[in-house]
């Protein structure tokens, strides 16, 4: 029962994440806000994992997420400063934050192997949703060349994270 309810939650998350990203063509200030928010969400998820998990491979993964997403968000902040763009909050960012809050509360109730599995499964689903959004919506919508280039680099990085999470889910859980 626990597995089926977890699966239903993940399926629901994927659907709502896809819906969250399926906004009308976003502007560059909105894209910058969405990309930064998506990174900040994964940093918070990693911090929760480091607080709760005792499994070395999960903690290493969380450390990697924390370090990488901070580095990408630092790049994004430097870029918006350089371009004199003020990131603009929007419905997609708000939906992402609302979903992440719900997921964090759900994970907070778990511990041990159940937490590890739920965290890694969510990392797979979350990176998948973000990568689809980058590929199909955010990159094609970006008009500034430097912003587009950073999003393209971000996509490669997050595809790597997705693969890493999928490997962990398949081999250690």
């Amino acid at each position: 029962m626990r597995t089926s309810s977890a699966s239903a939650l993940i399926a629901g998350f994927l659907l709502s994440a896809a819906a969250a990203f399926a906004a009308e063509k976003p502007t560059d200030p909105e894209i910058a806000h969405i990309a930064y928010t998506a990174g900040a969400i994964d940093i918070e998820a990693a911090q929760q994992a480091l607080d709760k998990s005792k499994t070395e491979s999960v903690r290493t993964f969380a450390d990697d997420m924390l370090r990488d997403h901070k580095a990408v968000n630092d790049k994004a902040l430097a870029l918006v400063k350089k371009l004199n763009v003020t990131p603009a909050d929007n419905d997609t960012s708000k939906a992402l934050v609302a979903q992440a809050d719900a997921k964090r509360q759900e994970l907070a109730k778990l511990s041990g192997a159940a937490f590890d599995k739920a965290y890694i499964d969510n990392e797979v689903a979350y990176h998948k949703a973000v990568n689809t959004a980058l590929k199909d919506t955010l990159i094609p919508s970006a008009s500034n060349g430097e912003l587009k280039a950073l999003l393209e680099t971000g996509l490669k990085i997050f595809q790597g994270h997705q693969q890493h999470a999928e490997h962990l889910a398949a081999h250690t859980m």
């Binding site: 990697d64 370090r67 990488d68 580095a71 990408v72 790049k75 680099t153 490669k156 990085i157 595809q159 790597g160 994270h161 693969q163 890493h164 490997h167």
Partner: protein, 108 residues
């Protein structure tokens, strides 16, 4: 020989590189740059005694980790690290943080 005057140390690799210009049989340093989430070149041919030098020009930390676990080299952003090739064969490697980054070394 110039190499003989160096003690066993990291400097020996530099000496090897210098010697390579005069002596094709000496080990050479093959540089693999990491840029924009890729090992470049991704595939290298080398000889036993050659040295691979990975140079990380990305703004992220990476690793060069052998599929057969024969090496696992951390490559922090902006840093370089070396590996002396001691045996023949082909070894494939990847980045542990980003397993979509892959490379291989073909040692003759």
């Amino acid at each position: 020989m110039m190499r003989a005057s160096f003690p066993y140390s990291i400097l020996a690799a530099v000496a090897l590189w210098t010697a390579t210009a005069r002596d094709a049989a000496a080990g050479q340093v093959i540089v693999v740059k990491i840029i924009d989430m890729a090992f470049s070149p991704a595939t290298v041919k080398a000889k036993v005694g050659d040295v691979i030098e990975w140079s990380n020009a990305d703004f992220l930390d990476h690793t060069a980790t052998a599929n057969d676990n024969s090496f696992d080299i951390p490559l922090a952003t902006g840093e370089s690290a070396r590996l002396e090739l001691k045996r023949r064969g082909t070894v494939s490697y990847y980045c542990r943080v980003h397993p979509n980054m892959i490379g291989s070394i073909d040692v003759e």
